[in-house]
């Protein structure tokens, strides 16, 4: 691989990693507070995609599509908490995990029966396929937007988590929920805000993902979110910084390996990336950023 290719793949990896980082953050917030591995996070992404499909189908301007999508995914996340997870407050990690897995299949099947099992086209807007040449490199506008939006979100999120009472409560709850409740922080509000936050992050990811994906189907949320799961574990489970680091490492690894692989290995590309990540976990079971804990 030449230096030129390497830089180009890093540019691609940066935007891919940004999407993973947004999804991984949404997963990590919920895991750190309530031990929930939310399989249904992918369905938030899908719901965002369907909102974009419906609105863009009716020629709605992007100035309306963006708030509508964000609102829909945030409300969907809050509804998930209210309907599915609140009755299970305090249940074991496994109960939450299985419930979220079932919830994911519920939403997928509901979309299959209610809309269609076939992919629906998302009207391609001119801007998402535009590209620029900078020297010898090609950069898509969608890549620039994705990376810039993610950086902005990370800055705002850091501000929110460090400077506002609610943000500090969420961070504290991620460390030790029991103690936070003893300090008089209302548990319900923290959990609902965490779900709303994860829904909002999924909405942003949804806008960026489907603007370039071109179509949405009931199962299209699954692959990116499963990648985000891996990113979360890679960074160190339950660690918000780790989730972002994991997302970017996964994005870069994916793109750089895609350039290195010969054609015969390329068809197994995803398997190779996953195997390498499991290899990393073999050396650092606690993740890249996590602290060493555990028993075995």
């Amino acid at each position: 691989m030449t230096f030129h290719e390497f830089v180009q793949q890093c540019i691609n990896g940066l935007s891919l990693g940004s999407t993973y980082a947004l999804l991984a953050l949404g997963l990590a917030v919920l895991f750190s507070i309530m031990g929930l591995i939310n399989f249904a996070h992918g369905e938030l992404l899908t719901i965002g995609g369907y909102v974009m499909w419906t609105t863009l189908h009716h020629d709605t301007s992007w100035w309306l599509v963006v708030p509508a999508t964000l609102l829909a995914t945030t409300l969907a996340a809050v509804a998930m908490e209210r309907i599915a997870f609140r009755p299970l407050r305090g249940a074991s990690i496994e109960t939450l995990l299985v419930t979220s897995f079932a919830l994911a299949f519920f939403i997928q099947t509901a979309l299959q029966i209610g809309v269609s099992a076939e992919p629906e086209p998302i009207a391609h807007t001119g801007w998402s396929s535009r590209g620029y040449s900078v020297g010898a490199y090609t950069i898509g506008l969608i890549q620039i937007v994705t990376t810039a939006v993610t950086f902005a979100v990370l800055v705002l999120l850091t501000f929110f988590l460090k400077r506002t009472l609610l943000g500090v409560s969420i961070r504290a709850a991620a460390e030790d929920f029991a103690v936070v409740r003893l300090m008089g922080v209302p548990a319900g509000r923290v959990v609902v805000s965490a779900f709303a936050l994860s829904g909002l992050l999924a909405g942003i990811a949804s806008l960026l993902f489907f603007a370039s994906a071109g179509s949405v189907s009931p199962t299209s949320g699954t692959p990116p979110v499963v990648a985000a799961f891996i990113a979360v574990v890679l960074g160190g489970l339950g660690n918000l910084t780790g989730a972002v680091v994991g997302g970017y490492v996964l994005g870069f690894a994916d793109q750089i390996l895609a350039a290195v692989h010969s054609n015969t290995i390329l068809q197994f590309h995803d398997a190779v990336v996953l195997a390498i990540l499991i290899g990393i976990l073999l050396l650092r079971p606690q993740g890249l950023v996590g602290r060493r804990e555990g028993i075995v």
């Binding site: 299985v98 897995f101 489970l237 195997a275």
Partner: protein, 342 residues
Amino acid sequence: MWWPLRSAAGAALVAASLALVAAWGWLRGGEQTKLTHFFVNVTIVVALQAFSGNSGILSFGHMALFGAGAYVAGILTLDPALKSIYLTSLPHFLQDANPRWWIALALAAVAGGALALVSGIPILRLDGASAVIAILALLLIADVVFGSWTGVTRGGAGLIGLPPEATMGRAFAFAVAAVVAARIFKDSKTGLLLRASREDAFSAASVGVAVRAYRVRAWVLSGVIAGAGGALFAWWIGTISPTDFFLAPTFALIVMFIVGGKRTVAGAVVGAALVTLVQEQVRGYEDSSVHLGLFTIHRLTGLTQMVLVVMILIVMYLRPEGIVGREEPDEAVARFLRRRPA
């Protein structure tokens, strides 16, 4: 009584109910395909129970082990004439191979166990939720391999025309063998210490339980059973493709495991019975349309899945320990008898 014998006797209760089902199917005739499906489901869910039930780590990756067995058996027993057309990258000795069914099944079990050993050593270093996700990664890797290794697996087109070697009697025999093996494992020293680590891994480790090694043992046993089950599945269904071993079947498997009760082998069998019933009875309605007042839904694609979702959610909210609960039926009976002086 020598403990493995006692465990086997305990499992006999479950085995006897399986025998009743088989006898019913044999007398009635015509239901044998459905019952074979049931016995294959029993085998795979018992494999999951042997690992997840004892270790407490919920596995989303068993379909990888199951699929490995299915593909090994499928590739071995496919008609050599078809192999030379479909599977061009297959080495010559495999191209010509056409082993007896039980040899292919044994090799499928070995393949399941070998995949479990190779994957388990790194993955089971992880703990809790990280382990769950790493096992899920195994499922994704397997799916890529099944789908992309076209010269060997025929990729998304799938292996077609596998011989119908999975008769009801064979499937029944292997279901019973799986039930007995899982029960003996559960009551063995390894199984007991593993269950201790499930309740409290830190305490178990602190008194010298080699948690990781025991987890790997359970995972490998589970892989062997799943590999054999995969072979039977391939011969039962006749056509296998990567989607048969991905997320939707994984979900059905998890439903079987959880609904019956994850702590007991009997629970796994009960779950398999309920899910098979849904799969066999509801599937017929998927093409029908429904009129709901103003709306008409034309095709109920995924109706089976919806019923499974409802089943598992009811269990999660009302009885998270599953229908059977914490004790095997024979243990419950023994406890009941002990309470009353003779």
